[in-house]
């Protein structure tokens, strides 16, 4: 091919993964709804946690008669400051944003334009995963550290606030932040496998929030163990305050197991997304 060397016009620069990430970032950033949903959910998480702690002030300030058979009253700033209800909200919004970055392209047909421009589909999905993970890490960190430091600053006046160096706090804050990228990656995996908007969101809510409800019982160990393998249970375990009065119940997962659950779900979701998108017709 003597002819192809001459014109500089079609001299193709070496492909870089970074350019794919930059392209995906342009796409994510340009969708106003995504930015709004993410910003509002981060602010929402912080606001709900702050409000929860604020509402607890009368109880903290009130008298605490000793209950027979119970240890003295002890306010759990971690349990109330990194609440599970805002976490549920956060899991749904971040999971949906993750899912929509993938099935959104299928729904609009944009995926064909994308893959005609970049036939290396695995790299496209890897770039999406990278950008979404980075974005969710930032969002999760803001939501988590915002909730932790604001609520504990409020509690400082009551002398029940915690410091990030107190037992379990750093891990709890990290887990509360990481649930955002974990949920988003689960969303990407489900979006790739299902490729249908409504069905993906239903599956996402089911996986993240509803299925864990079915596996809470501890009458049979295997039921509890299945529950322990789900991201929500792992989050509950990782945000558990070791100094708390509450108990973990029978067959609790270990801290290490819970981190493995976070990592495992993320990894499997990414592998599923890459494999499925690479193989299927678009």
């Amino acid at each position: 091919m003597t002819t192809l060397t001459a014109p500089a016009r079609n001299a193709e620069p070496r492909p870089r993964f970074f350019d794919l990430c930059a392209a995906e970032w342009i796409k994510v950033r340009s969708l106003r709804s995504t930015s709004w949903v993410l910003t509002l959910s981060v602010l929402g998480v912080i606001a709900i946690n702050v409000n929860a702690v604020h509402s607890d002030f009368p109880y903290i300030d009130g008298p605490h008669p000793r209950m027979p058979g119970w240890p003295p009253y002890h306010y759990d700033a971690l349990f109330h400051g990194l609440g599970m209800i805002p976490a549920d909200l956060f899991m749904i919004t971040t999971g949906s944003i993750g899912a929509i970055t993938l099935f959104g392209e299928y729904a609009s047909g944009m995926i064909r334009t994308t893959f005609a421009a970049v036939p290396d589909r695995r790299s496209v999905v890897a770039a999406k995963v990278t950008v979404v993970t980075a974005l969710m890490l930032v969002a999760g960190t803001i939501a988590s550290t915002g909730s932790f430091f604001l609520t504990n600053a409020m509690l400082a006046s009551r002398h029940v606030g915690l410091s990030i160096s107190d037992p379990g706090c750093l891990g709890a804050v990290a887990a509360y932040a990481l649930i955002a990228p974990v949920s988003a990656l689960v969303g990407i995996g489900l979006g790739a496998a299902i490729r249908h908007a409504t069905a993906t969101i239903v599956a996402l809510v089911g996986t993240l929030l509803l299925v864990p409800l079915l596996f809470q019982g501890d009458r049979f160990r295997w039921v509890k163990e299945i529950g322990n393998a789900l991201p929500k249970s792992a989050l509950e375990r990782l945000t558990y305050n070791p100094d708390s009065n509450s108990v973990l119940g029978k067959y609790p997962p270990s801290i290490t197991e819970s981190w493995i659950v976070f990592g495992g779900w993320s990894l499997v979701a990414v592998i599923v997304a890459i494999a499925v998108v690479n193989r299927r017709d678009v």
């Binding site: 002819t3 014109p7 079609n10 620069p13 350019d19 340009s30 944009m110 994308t114 421009a117 017709d281």
Partner: protein, 321 residues
């Protein structure tokens, strides 16, 4: 335009580059066969029309060329390579498959910037192609608010982004106004003249008549014809002659005896096939029959196309029942 010269030089060197080769291509979706044993070649330097009625397998074939769908069997290569083997595509093949394959929430500038960035194409190229297709003024508006014609222009801009040697367009004239149609025709001819391979699908012969110089005609996923426009015009439909005379019965007998086939039309004229106008004139003169009108007419390309594809549709529909 310096690129023009260089491209033409490339083709003149006898390079076989930039050829689309479709070989025994078959694609089935469940029990439906969208493309069946299709074989053809699209060469550079021409606008090649890809014609067929709706559902003939044109869009499927274009998707197979781009590796968006995997063939059930057979191969398709561009420039000797499977398209999916390229890490980045825009500098190899530019394509407009469906103008709606965009996200309505983005602006044209953002849409093209993301694509350019993914292929390491300098961002100034985005402004260039937007200028070229006439969208520069609306480039920052949401694509969702564009008309179909504007979306077609954006799709063409996308195809041009990487300045590729091979271009695919699926029904690019849909939704364009007459000025747009003229512009697109000129653009396609220019791209071909620059030595590029231009492959344009359509279900309307009339659209291709003034644009393409080669045709690939498919029906129900199978190849019907692959030839130049003039060859295509000459096939498929018999050429007829209209004759008007005061002695139609005598002339009809005469022409039938000579091997012609004659039909008397209600207006008194004769429609003759199987004999050309010269021979009919000679016969009339020999037998001293006065002709008032002698007009040869060939079928239009549209008729040729309709007849060919109608045959294929009937035949295959009957078979599949």
């Amino acid at each position: 335009m310096s690129t023009t010269v260089r491209c033409l030089a490339g083709v003149a060197d006898g390079s076989v580059g930039h050829v689309i080769e479709v070989n025994e291509l078959t694609k089935r979706y469940g029990s439906t066969t969208a493309v069946n044993g299709l074989t053809f070649t699209v060469r550079p330097g021409h606008v090649t029309g890809f014609l067929g009625p709706n559902g003939a397998g044109k869009s499927t074939t274009l998707r197979l060329i781009l590796g968006l769908n995997e063939p059930t069997s057979g191969t398709v290569t561009v420039d000797g390579h499977r398209f999916r083997g390229h890490p980045r595509g825009l500098r190899h093949v530019g394509a407009l498959l469906d103008a709606a394959d965009v996200h309505g929430g983005r602006s044209a500038t953002v849409h093209l910037s993301a694509l350019a960035r993914s292929n390491r194409i300098p961002l100034r190229r985005v402004d260039e192609v937007l200028q070229e297709v006439g969208l520069a003024e609306v480039a920052r508006r949401r694509i969702g608010g564009y008309s179909l014609g504007m979306k077609q222009r954006l799709g063409i801009a996308t195809a041009l982004l990487g300045d590729p040697p091979v271009l695919l367009f699926d029904e690019p004239l849909n939704g364009l106004d007459p000025e747009g149609v003229l512009w697109v025709r000129g653009l396609f001819r220019r791209l071909a003249a620059e030595g590029r391979t231009v492959f344009v699908s359509s279900h309307m012969m009339s659209e291709m008549e003034h644009t393409a110089d080669h045709l690939i005609v498919v029906g129900r996923g199978e190849l019907i014809a692959a030839e130049s426009l003039s060859e295509f015009a000459a096939r498929g439909t018999r050429v007829g002659v209209t004759v008007r005379t005061r002695e139609p019965a005598a002339l009809a007998d005469l022409l039938t005896a000579e091997g012609g086939s004659v039909r008397a039309d209600p207006d008194g004229s004769l429609a003759v096939t199987g004999l050309d106008a010269d021979r009919i004139g000679e016969l009339a003169l020999e037998h001293r029959i006065l002709l008032q009108e002698l007009a040869a007419h060939s079928a239009s390309l549209e008729e040729a196309f309709m007849q060919l594809t109608a045959d294929s549709v009937e035949y295959l529909a009957g078979e599949s029942r």
